[in-house]
Structures are given as structure tokens and as C-alpha cells.
Symmetry: C2
Subunit: 202 residues, 2 copies
């Protein structure tokens, strides 16, 4: 036996799982063997869900968030404040902001940040659509909620320039020390930023 | 929005991945979003492989290892020594022993170990088949290569009793200190066992 796996079907399934980020070949094998111990129907259903995933998933025409409908549940919710648009990098970030329960406006999912290193330029992102949304009127504030990284900052700068002519208010999420963490564990950049961006004590 | 996910299709896929051992809902979401960024064809292929997994995978009629054929590549290999049978718990263990390159005999995959706590009794394992293989003749030695745990020891004992009448030689893999590890890190049970089971220095 020169082959690593005793079966080609097993190897195919291991290869598929190992193609996922953070899953090595040993973990992939463990997952496949776990599936083999499960009822046929369950495993076939798992396969079917993946097989139709890309055709089942749609993106909101307005905010580009993942959606089952042409316009997503957030954009079409009349109780949300359509005058505030929160710009985020991806779907996880929408879910992260939603889970804070602190935001009742709408979103705009860019699909990434400008990253010349990874070959991602402004035209690869949903920036033109954001400008159109603001130009169409009704938006009073755009909150930039991108990651506090070089790429995030670059993208913030690019978007603010593209929106400058609309006169919309542009804000950016606060950087500072993480809530609940001991101050001595905060990195100096975040701590420094928290001093520069200090707010009045109420 | 009361729902955790913005799309039912997304949620279905996340649920499937999160049903796998060691994969939480956050990781599952990350995996699904990774798949969404991949070409349609690749994702559909992944789904298809899983959908047909349980019907594609077969088990060797002789040793119960996973196989593409009725009798697996190891059992049907004339260059392997069919007089020695190594009893292992599962498919991973066959692969682990194979990767040592120290064993040229055949295997017998039990499909688990006796574990009253988990409701696994002797009849749930391929023990009767092992006894039949030995009774059929040609097997001179059975190597018990189960995990050095309470369950493994119980299973070893049960199998040795079931094989006693055949007169076959029964051996068990050596327990002791792990090769390459500093002795001070060895647990006392393994170290104690390595002294009891010491072998002549050559």
C-alpha cells in the first residue's frame, strides 16, 4: 500500500474537508470517520445542503448582506433607522454589531477591505454602491466600522474621500481599551488612542 | 430580526458543520463563509462527495477496515504476512500502525472497544469475526494493539478469553515511556510499566 488512505472515497472526503481553512488532514479524517458513523440520511442531507448552498444563498440588493430575499430582513424592516448606515467588512461583522443591540440603523457590507498586498482594490469592494446609496438621499450618517488595522484605516480614508461631496456625516467606531480588561494588559497603541479620544465623564 | 443568521440557507449550512465534533457555531460560520467565496463548482463537488459518501465507502469483508473493494488492499496483498493479525480499534489506528512501517501482517478492525459506560458491549464489535478468522486456521499470532486504557484492557482480556481455545499466540503492544520524551515528563504509571516490562539490553 503506497496510498495514505485505505479507500479513494475516504480520501476524496478527507481532501474536501482539509481544503477548509484551519482544518488539517488529521482533523479532516476524524470528521469523515465521524460522518461514517452517522445515519446515511443525515450525511446525505449534509451533502445536499452544501451542494445547493451557492444557489440557495443570495445577497441583499441594497446592503449586500447574505439574505434569503432580494432585499434583506434588516433593510426591509420599517422599524430600523434608514438614515444611518454602518459600513462593515463582512457578514460576520453585521452579526457582531447586531449582537451588541446598540445599532438600529442599516448596514453596508463591503465584502472586504482595500488590501494591495492581497490584490484587493476599491473596485473589488461594494464602495460604488455605498456612494450611490448616500447620493440617493435619506442617509444622514455613515458609520465606518472596519477593523482598526492598516487596511481598515486605508479603506476608511478612501470611502470618506468618495463620500466627501455628499456632505453626509461620517463617523468611525471608537478605538480604545477593551471593556472589562485589566488596563495593564492593554497594548500601548490602544491605550494611547483611548487617551487621545477621551470623552467627557458623565 | 430575532434570528441569529441573516439567511435560512446560511443557517442550515452552519448547523450541518456545527454538528461535527470539535466545530462550534463560530467556526462553522467561518467555514460556510469560506465556501461561499469559493467557485460554485467546487462547493457543489464538496456537497456531492458527502452526499454519496456513505454509499461509496465499503468495509473489507475480512478485516472490516474501510475499503473500496470487497476485500481491502492489505488483506489481498500476497506480500503481507497473513499469519499475524493486529487487532485495532478503528481505521485511524490501522493508518497509525501502517505509518510505523514496523508491521507487515494483516489487521482486524474492532470498530471500538468494550465500554459499558457508552453502552458498547462485545456484540457491538467485530470480535466474533476475529474468532472465526483464527479458528479458520493460518493465524499464528494475534497482536492486541488497543489503547492502553481501562476499556482497552477490558477488551484485550475479553478477546484473549474468546481466543484461548484456539491456542493462537496472543501478544499485546508494549507500554512504557514515549520515545524521544524527557524521562522527567513521563507519567508515573507509564514509567512504572516501563520498568516492569523492561527488556534485555542488546
Amino acid at each position: 500500500m503506497n496510498r495514505e488512505y485505505p479507500s479513494a472515497a475516504l480520501e476524496r472526503a478527507v481532501n474536501e474537508f482539509a481544503s477548509l481553512p484551519g482544518i488539517g488532514r488529521k482533523t479532516a479524517l476524524r470528521l469523515v470517520l465521524h460522518l461514517l458513523a452517522r445515519p446515511d440520511r443525515e450525511v446525505a442531507e449534509f451533502g445536499h445542503v452544501l451542494e445547493t448552498l451557492k444557489q440557495d444563498i443570495r445577497y441583499c440588493r441594497v446592503c449586500h448582506n447574505i439574505s434569503d430575499t432580494d432585499v434583506c430582513g434588516i433593510c426591509s424592516n420599517p422599524r430600523r433607522d434608514s438614515s444611518v448606515v454602518c459600513v462593515v467588512e463582512n457578514v460576520q461583522d453585521v452579526m457582531a454589531v447586531e449582537s451588541t443591540m446598540q445599532f438600529k440603523g442599516l448596514y453596508h457590507v463591503l465584502g472586504g477591505v482595500i488590501s494591495p498586498m492581497n490584490g484587493i482594490g476599491p473596485s473589488d469592494l461594494q464602495i460604488a454602491g455605498l456612494v450611490e446609496r448616500v447620493e440617493a438621499g435619506g442617509v444622514k450618517e455613515v458609520i465606518l466600522a472596519l477593523s482598526p488595522t492598516m487596511e481598515g484605516d486605508t479603506t476608511n480614508f478612501f470611502i470618506s474621500r468618495k463620500l466627501a461631496h455628499t456632505g453626509v456625516r461620517i463617523s468611525v467606531i471608537a478605538k480604545g481599551v477593551a471593556v472589562g480588561n485589566n488596563l495593564e494588559y492593554a497594548d500601548e497603541v490602544s491605550l494611547g488612542r483611548s487617551i487621545i479620544d477621551r470623552v467627557e465623564y458623565k
